[in-house]
């Protein structure tokens, strides 16, 4: 990190205040992560990744998170388009509702979802008659992860749609394309990057969820639950290697996100 190009010597006291706070923050974020990674020996890491349970849990984490992202894509895209393009009464309220899942404590989310999944609720009854189980099932995990990940997708894609001038869509209509044709030939090609970014953010949020999942589905075990279980059962040292592997998956997502975000900025 090169020091910023300070424009004036007279800023001295401010320099030290800002630079030292910045250093502290960066150390505060990086130090625990580095320590955790380096306290796990390579042998531990190798052994852990051969453990079928661990592989199984990481795979399940990825599968359920990506499913949540795909569901968000399917339902969230038209919703984001509506929010980006149309003005209507109550829009601010709707936008607030979308942000709700971000604000709700994670175990509360789990409990809320169980509240409609039980057999004493009409929705739970319908689902159980259809053979859909929420509690302790992969379906349940996906439902929870969609709940926590959806806002990230919708907000991001909404911004993406807003960045596309309506005039491009108008021109396309005037040239003979229908509303749907315009969406696929103009809007989608210009917005797909923001959709990818939204899906990555949704996946990343979903993969990091634990509090809601541990209520709805302790089993089948996703990676965060597995880490928690190892921690409570065997202690810190046995949970670290699993945590490191999960972090590697997350960092990969993070990298992907940066790549797509930067490309996106170049386009516009």
């Amino acid at each position: 990190m090169k020091l910023p190009n300070w424009r004036n010597q007279a800023l001295d006291p401010l320099i030290w205040l800002t630079v030292s706070s910045s250093m502290i923050i960066i150390a505060f974020i990086l130090l625990p992560l580095f320590e955790m990674v380096f306290q796990s020996s390579l042998a531990d890491l190798r052994e852990t990744i051969r453990d079928k349970d661990v592989i199984q849990s990481i795979r399940l984490s990825i599968y359920t998170s990506v499913s949540a992202a795909l569901i968000s894509f399917l339902f969230g895209t038209p919703f984001a388009y509506l929010l980006a393009r149309k003005e209507f009464a109550g829009k601010k309220f709707i936008e607030s509702i979308v942000d709700l899942p971000i604000m709700i404590p994670h175990p509360v989310i789990g409990i809320a979802i169980l509240s409609i999944a039980g057999k004493n609720h009409w929705l739970g009854e319908i689902m159980s008659s259809l053979g859909i189980r929420i509690m302790g099932s992969v379906t349940g995990i996906i439902v929870v992860l969609t709940f926590v990940g959806l806002p990230f997708y919708v907000n991001n894609v909404k911004t993406g749609f807003e960045a596309i001038p309506v005039r491009l869509e108008n021109i396309s209509r005037s040239l003979g394309a229908s509303a749907i044709g315009t969406f696929f030939r103009v809007t989608f090609p210009l917005a797909w990057r923001s959709m990818v970014v939204g899906m990555i953010m949704c996946t990343a949020r979903a993969i990091s969820e634990f509090g809601a999942i541990v209520i709805v589905a302790y089993h089948p075990m996703i990676a965060p639950v597995m880490i928690y279980q190892r921690f409570t059962a065997y202690g810190l040292r046995y949970s670290q290697p699993v945590a490191v592997w999960l972090i590697i998956v997350c960092l990969f997502l993070f990298l992907l996100l940066r790549v797509f975000s930067i490309h996106k900025k170049k386009m516009t």
């Binding site: 001038p165 005037s174 003979g176 394309a177």
Partner: protein
């Protein structure tokens, strides 16, 4: 042909009131007005992008009021080009062709002609991100014309361009209209564009039409004080008419002929007011003695504001005359204007 009949549009913060326009086939019609007057709303109603609350719109005798934009056969070119940034120049131009088949054949047979007409052949493969403003506007025009629209709408097509490109595109528009005879409705806030390009013109203000007529009529015989100011008649005064005379407060103005007493205003273009240091020859009509109250240097010419009998008149003189007469503020001068330049309305 475009016919707009009693068009009313109500948007949350703006309304159009009973706009009525008939644009003949092959005409180059300009819709003039200041920013926020509603020019673009009229265009968007014609294209079909704003909900029409009353009135009807015909394109070539077809009522399109309830048709979606893609069924109207209208080409549009925006000020900011609105090219598709993810497509090449060629892909932009042919974008609409697939929707326009006649007798099973695409209408793209004039594509070559258009590409050459706008000198685009060399840049067909380029991304639109690296084009100059002039090139972008040429591509936008080519794209609109490729589908052979029945009418062409231009939304301030010259405003965003550098002066050099502005001349270029203005020439192209003029030539294009002369060659193809397409019906054009152009929206602009710049009267000189209308003078250069337009045949007939309408002036709109606050969602209402103020005047419709030939460019010359609008320029020389504005119908309202707003239009008078808009076309550069900086001197507009309420007046009382009496035979061949009009009174603006205490100032008596001679008219070329008898005006109806129902008229309410007079207007004079600033360039029609002549200023001299010495008296005009006896018998010169509308000769007044005045004091210079302000001089505004505008580069090649200066605005000179003179005051006489409590009334401020604005005249224009060239910077060299200004220098020769050594006018400054408070100088006593003589001003005169011919009876023929006084417009009563």
């Amino acid at each position: 042909m475009i016919r707009i009949e009693n068009l009313c549009v109500r948007l949350p913060d703006f309304s159009l009131h009973k706009i009525d326009l008939r644009i003949q086939a092959g005409e180059f019609f300009t819709l003039l007005g200041p920013t926020g007057a509603g020019k673009t709303v009229v265009l968007e109603a014609v294209i079909g992008l704003v909900p029409v609350s009353e009135g009807r719109i015909w394109i070539n005798s077809r009522d399109v009021t309830r048709l979606p934009p893609e069924k109207r056969g209208i080409g549009i070119v925006y000020q900011d080009y609105a090219l598709f940034p993810h497509l090449t120049v060629y892909e932009n131009i042919v974008y609409g062709l697939r929707y326009h088949k006649k007798d099973g054949k695409k209408t793209g047979k004039n594509l070559d002609f258009i590409v050459d007409r706008f000198s685009l052949r060399r840049i067909l493969g380029r991304s639109i991100l690296n084009l100059s403003g002039g090139e972008m506007q040429r591509v936008a025009l080519a794209r609109a014309l490729a589908v052979d629209p029945s009418v062409l709408l231009l939304d301030e097509p010259l405003s965003a361009l550098d002066p050099n490109f502005r001349e270029e595109i203005r020439e192209i528009l003029k030539m294009l209209h002369a060659d193809t005879g397409i019906t054009v409705l152009m929206v602009t806030h710049d009267f000189s564009e209308a003078q250069y390009l337009g045949q007939r013109s309408a002036v709109i203000n606050k969602g209402r039409l103020e005047q419709v007529g030939t460019v010359t009529e609008v320029f020389h015989q504005p119908a309202t004080p707003f239009v008078a100011k808009f076309v550069g008649m900086k001197n507009v005064f309420p007046a009382i008419f009496e035979g061949r005379k009009a009174y603006v407060a205490n100032l008596r103005i001679e008219l070329g002929f008898e005006e109806s007493e129902r008229k309410k205003y007079i207007a004079i273009r600033p360039e029609d007011i002549h200023i001299r240091g010495d008296k005009f020859p006896p018998g010169t009509p509308n000769c007044i003695e005045a004091t210079v109250s302000k001089i505004l240097n505008q580069g090649f010419y200066s605005d000179v504001i003179i005051e006489s009998a409590g009334i401020e008149l604005r005249a224009i003189i060239s910077s060299s005359s200004l220098f020769r007469m050594s006018l400054t503020e408070k100088t006593r001068v003589y001003a005169a204007f011919d009876t023929s330049v006084v417009h009563a309305f």
